[in-house]
Symmetry: C2
Subunit: 120 residues, 2 copies
DNA sequence: AAAGATACCTTGCGTCACAAGACTATGGCA
DNA sequence: TGCCATAGTCTTGTGACGCAAGGTATCTTT
């Protein structure tokens, strides 16, 4: 039960909007989103996160979904972004900018240590 | 019960380290931290957040505290950062940098809309 | 037959920010 | 005297959500 790391908490409220951003450039299916989010700096660690999340996004009207069967392959549920979803993504981008700027204002008070050098 | 806004989720895991950063420049008491965090872009909205948080920081060994009575004033509990707390703050600064960079990589795919202009 | 990959989904857990409010003491105002 | 505001600490209950673990099904590889 190691789901309580510091970075896990940081991801809260971020993964959903990130999915919307990805879907802005085209529909994808669940596992595909898991992989893409993982490639971008490990933004997601478990499949147990994505499916409930996609359900919530759908209930909120930010995405729609339909099953697609491509010859001989396993059926996949593709998610598409809606207009409301696009607006939500843009709203998040603004909010995120403000928020990170606030945190950065605080963090600037701390001198940055060099990570490569040994702390001694 | 409006504690489930989008920005509330973003604050998760951030407020604690922010307190540590503030304490790096000198001891403070509870309400003082609430006010300072509020001034920095509304990083905290409720006193109900800070006291349990300070307890956790103390249990983790990141801060110590002692009551101080300044002539005629109400006693205040001042919190001081420890060496472990300083290191935690620096660790957070690095983690936060990596995390926000990952998110920024994704968000860069979205064109930035002008907030001042009407979306029409 | 066994293992592994791909794809979907559910269950239970734990953390933590929040609202609301309790408690105490002081100072101002009528 | 009563009343209210303010400052300061703290507790309680709620809710969101990321996560690990596990479950189902099919296809391929060993």
């Amino acid at each position: 039960m190691a789901q309580n790391t510091a970075s896990t908490q940081l991801r809260r409220g971020v993964i959903g909007p990130c999915i919307l951003v990805l879907l802005c450039s085209g529909p994808r299916y669940g596992l595909q989103l898991v992989r893409e989010l993982d490639e971008v700096g490990g933004l997601l660690t478990s499949q147990g996160t994505i499916y409930p999340l996609l359900n919530r996004l759908q209930e909120s009207g930010f995405v729609t979904s339909q099953w697609e069967v491509e010859s001989d392959e396993r059926p996949k549920r593709y998610y598409q972004i809606t207009q409301a979803g696009r607006e939500e993504a843009e709203t998040f981008k603004r909010d995120w900018g403000h928020f990170t700027q606030s945190v950065a204002t605080l963090l600037d008070q701390l001198p940055t240590k060099n990570t490569d050098e040994e702390t001694k």
